[in-house]
Amino acid sequence: MNGAAATEMRRAERPGAERLQVDLGRLRLIRPWEYAIRFGFGFPMSVIAAVIGELAGPRVGGLFLAFPAILVATVTLVEKKEGVGQAATDVRGATFGAIGLIAFAVVVSALVDRSPSLALVGALLAWIVVSGVAYLGVRGLLRVTGERQYLPEIPTSDAATLVGILIARGMTVATADSLTGGTLSALVCSVPDARRVFRAGLVAPIGDLTKLPRPISETSREVAASRGGRPSLNGHQVDYMIERLSCNALRWQSGDRLDLQPGQPGAAPWPRPAPLEPSRSVRGMPAVARSG
């Protein structure tokens, strides 16, 4: 086996281990309002910390130099762009940055009386080194201990909410997955009582709706019509069919209609079951609940 193939095999054995990389091209994806939001958080937070320091003394002011205002803004932005899973991962990474921040403050306090410039430079280097070493250390430890991240960082509590509502209503669900490679079904099935509501799941190649079998949109529609309007998959008649999802985050609003384009497999209208408590806001993936 040559070196490239061996590298790919090692990478395949660690499905959750994303490569460390720097991609300057991503800077082109940042919109001007994102700069504005970040500056909009940074400027007032710096001012507030300075004012607190003037009013309550420098030690209290120093407390607020580590106030998590920027983190709140960043997490909110990341969730909006990449989903709650990535936002949680960002917070996890920030833990190492916060540990580095302790080192930053310690170096400043130790060196600032002797050499202010050395203190600032040394503190910044300490933050970089301590944060980086902590991150790489934990990452390496996970690799050594054989930790695998099977499912992406998705809050399973959302699936528990869905399952709970379905159990309470006496309803069932099936999934037809063309965007998450089976993660959708795995997420629902991760809930201990899921067997009471989950009937069937279908996985198509990611992003390729044409590979969804026609029976989902045609035969099942016919079956649904003959059986009084309930969708079915593989012979299992269900009350809800979860089909089209947001690719970036498994988010859903119970009872919402999906925006499939006409002519796409699964786009034929289904009889709409009673909505799942529309006043209750739950987070997960869009569910198919469309009326004919």
Binding site: A66, V84, S109, L120, A123
Partner: protein, 113 residues
């Protein structure tokens, strides 16, 4: 002079926040990029201006307070992971901020006073 130093801290702090955020946007995986979310952008701005206007003694006092704040920030992150997953980005991080306030002032009261 006081107003000028406060505004200067704001301008430099805001700029550094944007700069570190840009670094975070180019780095992957997301966990590594998250390190820049806890970058010393506001701290660096405050310390720099303080050194130039007030001197080393004030900067040292700031850094001592910052140690307690940074420890509380680690607590924020540990709580924030679950809070964000359960409550969403905005609500989860705000809830974790309440924990930061409690931890920061507890540390300040016990260690720094």
């Amino acid at each position: 002079m006081l107003v000028l130093s406060v505004v200067l801290k704001g301008l430099i702090g805001g700029t550094l926040v944007v700069a570190f955020a840009l670094i975070g946007e180019t780095v992957r995986p997301r966990g590594l990029a998250g390190i820049t979310s806890a970058a010393p952008s506001i701290a660096a701005a405050a310390l720099l201006v303080t050194l130039l206007t007030t001197g080393a003694a004030s900067a040292r006092a700031l850094s001592l307070g910052m140690i307690a704040g940074a420890v509380a920030l680690v607590v924020w992150c540990l709580v924030g992971v679950e809070a964000v997953k359960r409550m969403g980005g905005a609500r989860g991080s705000l809830a974790a901020t309440a924990v930061w306030l409690a931890a920061a002032f507890a540390l300040w009261g016990v260690v720094l006073q």
